[in-house]
């Protein structure tokens, strides 16, 4: 390929996922970081020393509204998108979700990079648009500091608890970690009730070197040891890196809800 403008990717190549659900109707995606400029004036120096303080991640997601249910609204209010019964979306039920986008190559044969924002907590959105426009729902919220990866992409597996449970895939080590980590994020889940009306209580825990092994085994003792709120854990959601070929839907993460 000639080194022309085709080197530069278009953002339509980003597959946006929220808790494992492929969002096929997103048309606004603006991940960013809230920052504060720092300026230090020092005696004897004509120019100040400067820095930027990175506070937290911010993300605005806009989706075209559907006639059917909007999976993001279900997820940010702690409800299963698979539940076809009438749903209520209210502020009291808002919860945080993990959001990521995997970037496809030009031929859509594999993912070549990604960005990941954990703990995204948007406010409750409402539809907008003029009468003749397609209805849009725009969600804005804050989350953890985002992270980007080149040459690897995010997958998620939801595994039932046990001593050391194989998640069925071999994670790619998180670059730059020592000792090596094999997950980008891990959530402890306590699932009660039966799908599709199950209730999932979640707690995100810091990833430790022994939590997810090089072979892709999830060690629940490592997760339970870090819990501060949940007293019972039935599952774990592991967000990890992969470098394999294929794109969605051939390559798809687990979904948070059954």
């Amino acid at each position: 390929m000639a080194l022309e403008g085709r080197r530069f990717r278009r953002r339509k190549k980003e597959d946006v996922f929220v808790e494992g659900y492929f969002i096929d109707h997103a048309n606004i995606s603006t991940p960013d970081i809230n920052k504060t400029d720092e300026t230090f004036h020092l005696y004897g120096k004509d120019s100040p020393e400067t820095d930027v303080q990175h506070n937290f991640g911010v993300l605005t997601l806009g989706v075209l509204d559907k006639y059917t249910n909007n999976a993001i609204l279900d997820l940010i209010t702690g409800q299963s998108p698979l539940d076809t019964a009438p749903h209520r979306y209210q502020v009291d039920d808002l919860t945080s979700v993990h959001v990521w986008a995997n970037v496809k190559d030009t031929k859509n044969t594999k993912y070549v990079k990604c960005w990941f924002m954990g703990g995204w907590s948007p406010g409750l959105p409402m539809p907008s648009g003029n009468p003749e426009a397609k209805a849009e729902v725009q969600m804005a919220g804050n989350g953890h500091l985002p992270v980007e990866f080149q040459g690897a992409f995010i997958l998620m597996k939801k595994v039932a608890s046990g001593a050391s449970v194989a998640m069925g895939d071999t994670p790619f080590p998180v670059p730059g970690t020592s000792p090596t980590l094999y997950a980008v994020s891990v959530k402890a889940l306590n699932i009660t009730g039966v799908a599709p009306t199950e209730v999932i209580n979640q707690e995100e825990v810091g990833v430790t070197p022994g939590m997810v092994t090089v072979a892709g085994n999830v060690v629940f003792a490592e997760i339970v040891a870090l819990l501060t709120e949940l007293t019972s854990v039935t599952h774990a959601a592991v967000y990890y890196l992969s470098t394999g070929t294929g794109v969605y839907p051939a390559v798809k993460p687990d979904k948070l809800y059954a």
Partner: protein, 183 residues
């Protein structure tokens, strides 16, 4: 790689023809279809293409021209939806009304009524409820197309000695179709 096509453009043409043929509407006390023996315009013929020879036309004709792709919008992340807006030109030729030699007013009145009915049909019913989209292969209804814009105007006369050329008009319909993938 296997590509699955939906043959959207010809499906839209045949679906609009079917819509024009089957849709009933009410004017005053009468509820009828557009054309045919039991329609508002009994001698109106629906053509799937622009007529080859205007000199041969003796009765009013509505002819669908070639579908033009007006807009293509891969406007979602992941390019998950396939959405197009097509422009359908619908040409009308009105002739054969009234008595020979005094037919101008009758042809003009016929054209104005037909043009008005088409505009209201597309701008009110089809833009609100959509036009059922049928698949030419399976003959099944596979979705709907939504009329997003309509324009209509009379066309100037080029050859006044040809009856069908004297009272021409065009209705242009912008129809949007989106194929939505599932999550």
């Amino acid at each position: 790689m296997t590509l699955t096509m939906q043959r959207t453009l010809p499906n839209i043409v045949s679906s609009v023809l079917r819509y024009l043929k089957d849709t009933q509407y009410t004017v005053g006390p009468d509820t009828k279809v557009l054309s045919g023996p039991s329609g508002f315009f009994t001698d109106l013929l629906l053509f799937p293409a622009y007529p080859d020879d205007l000199t041969k036309i003796k009765t009013p004709i509505l002819a669908l021209g070639t579908t033009e792709l007006s807009k293509f919008d891969p406007d979602t992340y992941g390019s998950a939806t396939f959405g197009i807006t097509v422009r359908l030109p619908l040409y009308g030729f009105v002739c054969g009304q009234g008595k020979p030699g005094t037919s101008d007013s009758a042809n003009k009145a016929y054209r104005d009524k037909l043009l008005s009915d088409l505009v209201e049909l597309f701008s009110q019913d089809a833009s609100n409820q959509g036009i059922p989209l049928f698949d030419a292969v399976s003959k099944q209804e596979i979705g709907e197309i939504e009329v997003v814009h309509v324009s209509a105007r009379a066309l100037p006369v080029n050859a006044p000695n040809i009856d069908a050329d004297r009272y021409k008009f065009i209705v242009e319909i912008d129809a949007a179709y989106t194929s939505i993938t599932s999550q």
